[in-house]
């Protein structure tokens, strides 16, 4: 996530500090997501005699959810799909968007036009319809909404890469490399990828929260994972009517989702500021 040091010195340079707040906010949910399934490998089924929506106490440190399941166990197990989904969707978006962006930035203007207008079409397409169709046809596996969320990011990623590759500086260097006899592949893959890596990384961090949010919303609307999934967004949805009875079942997963977003954004901010030499 390093950005090139500009030749113009920052007016008020500061000693770099570790972004503790960001790291904690981001770290707690991510650690829970990664380590949670290891910590809690047990069955998520309600225990014998378990009652729904019980406040914290006794066997259940965070109480039970509307289905009588242990909220702590659910929370530990529910992060994997949240974090994993966002990362995977991001990967899909990048994997498709970056080559498209480079293609658009290539020498052929016609190709550029075709790629960009096609990606505009994607932008104008109601993604909700696809999610609803997938849900209605039984494609409820984790991968489907993730793929859709990823594809929805393609236009923006392609635009960004194209923009970076077409930036005046990049253009000059490309010409120079061409003159030196470097092949198309070298120019495209070595130089331009390196050139757009900076903006792309910053964008990716911001996009992470967008995707996270998109997937959470889909799950909240019942268009993603099955209703029994421990996914944090699904938990919020399932338990929201019990907010007053058993706040923990809503507030804990909601808080974790929020912390994840805040932490991610803080790091992006920091990276952006570092890029300008601030902080």
């Amino acid at each position: 996530m390093s950005a090139p040091d500009g030749p113009y010195a920052p007016p008020r340079a500061r000693r770099p500090r570790l972004p503790w707040a960001a790291l904690v906010l981001l770290g707690v949910p991510v650690l829970l997501a990664v380590l949670g399934p290891l910590l809690y490998g047990g069955d998520l089924a309600p225990a014998d005699g378990a009652l729904p929506s019980r406040p914290p106490g006794g066997q259940h440190p965070l109480g039970t959810d509307v289905l009588g399941r242990d909220v702590l166990g659910l929370v530990l197990r529910g992060g994997a799909s949240v974090v994993g989904g966002a990362v995977a969707a991001l990967a899909v978006g990048m994997a498709v968007g970056v080559p498209l962006g480079l293609l658009a930035a290539g020498p052929s203007r016609r190709l550029d036009e075709v790629v960009m207008r096609t990606s505009d079409v994607l932008l104008a397409f109601p993604g909700l319809l696809v999610l609803m169709t997938l849900a209605a046809t039984g494609h409820r596996a984790w991968g489907w909404p993730v793929a859709v969320a990823g594809l929805l990011q393609v236009p923006a990623v392609a635009r960004l890469v194209r923009g970076a590759a077409l930036a005046p500086g990049a253009r000059t260097v490309v010409e120079a490399l061409r003159m030196q006899g470097h092949g198309w592949a070298y120019v495209q893959l070595r130089h331009l990828v390196r050139e757009s890596a900076g903006p792309l990384a910053t964008d990716a961090a911001g996009r992470f929260t967008t995707v996270l949010y998109l997937l959470a919303s889909a799950n909240f609307l019942g268009l993603g994972l099955p209703a029994s999934s421990p996914d944090w967004a699904v938990l919020v949805e399932r338990n929201r009517d019990a907010l007053f009875l058993q706040p923990a079942a809503v507030l804990v997963p909601a808080g974790l989702l929020t912390a994840l977003c805040v932490g991610g954004n803080l790091l992006v901010d920091r990276a952006l500021a570092r890029g300008r030499g601030l902080m």
Binding site: Y8, D112, L128, T133, F220, A254, C261, R276
Partner: protein, 310 residues
């Protein structure tokens, strides 16, 4: 001109894609309407009456043909002209979207600029932290918490817009406060942060320094260079925001029982009302394409270098 033709073509492509996806949905309107109690005989009778026994491509072609004559047709579900349904729902969406859009349009550049010009200062940090948190709380969580605290617990604001027609919403603006707040929060913070980052970057950019070296006053540098650059960069984001606000907000509408375009689209898909679904898709795609077109033009105007080399 070419861009406009292209835009039309894009809308057409979206329509065809929507049609193809739509036909993948299980069942049809006759199944939905007759529901659990319908006998196969009744479903067949209704299917014939609605013309659903025709092949899907033929129905689509028919619909498209009428579209070019300006006829949106009638909803399969209610038999009401599609335009009526859309008009009523657009009223709700506008009652929600226009105030939100005004708030975003005024506040985002203001907050972003103030914050960006004083990057690192105390007010900037406070504003930025607030924006960050609001930006990060998922809409459904924010809505849930606001309703629980301000409406149900404190009794300050109406909790839902259940049973309100578009006209009622304007007559009782209090109903709109919570939905507009939830709807605005994310877009506003998103855009403000973008403007802030843009302002900060432009202010320390090479061109700004150059202009300063040329002896231009800071005010001039900011007004003539920093702001246009930052706003130009945010234009695309703003376009997303306009699109999001005018295209109906499924989550917010569901939370507050508002019957806007987002809710209408979901219901049309659930009812397998394909003519209605296609009309919604056309409306959304048209908005998206138009807004993007304008955004591209504005971005070009404010920061011409971006597209120069394209």
């Amino acid at each position: 001109m070419r861009r406009c033709l292209l835009a039309l073509l894009q809308c057409l492509v979206v329509l065809v894609a929507v049609f193809v996806v739509g036909t993948r949905l299980p069942g049809d309107t006759a199944d939905v309407l007759r529901g659990e109690l319908g006998t196969p005989e009744q479903v067949e009778a209704l299917r014939a009456r609605l013309g659903l026994d025709e092949p899907a491509p033929a129905r689509f072609a028919h619909w498209l043909g009428r579209l070019f004559t300006g006829d949106l047709g009638t909803s399969l579900t209610t038999g009401v002209p599609v335009g009526d349904d859309l008009g009523r729902r657009a009223g709700v969406t506008l009652a929600l979207g226009v105030p939100a859009l005004l708030l975003v349009t005024v506040l985002a550049p203001l907050v972003g600029t103030v914050s960006g010009l004083r990057e690192g200062s105390r007010p900037d940090r406070a504003l930025n932290a607030a924006a960050l948190v609001l930006h990060s709380v998922p809409e459904f969580v924010l809505g849930l918490l606001l309703v629980a605290s301000l409406s149900l617990w404190a009794g300050l604001l109406p909790a839902t817009a259940v049973g309100m027609e578009p006209g009622d919403l304007l007559a009782r603006p209090a109903v709109l406060v919570l939905p507009v707040t939830v709807l605005t929060a994310r877009h506003l913070c998103d855009l403000a942060r973008q403007v802030r980052a843009g302002v900060a970057a432009q202010r320390h950019g090479a061109v700004a320094e150059h202009l300063r070296l040329l002896g231009l006053r800071e005010r001039t540098v900011v007004l003539r260079h920093v702001l246009p650059g930052a706003l130009g960069a945010a234009a695309q984001q703003y376009a997303r925001c306009v699109e999001g606000l005018l295209g109906g907000a499924v989550l917010v509408e569901a939370l507050f029982g508002l019957r806007g375009l987002g809710d209408g689209f979901v219901e049309a898909v659930q009812n397998r009302d394909l003519p209605l679904v296609q009309t919604y898709a056309l409306l959304f795609a048209g908005t998206a394409v138009a807004v993007n077109l304008v955004a591209d033009l504005v971005a070009h105007r404010l920061a011409p270098r971006r597209e120069l080399t394209a």
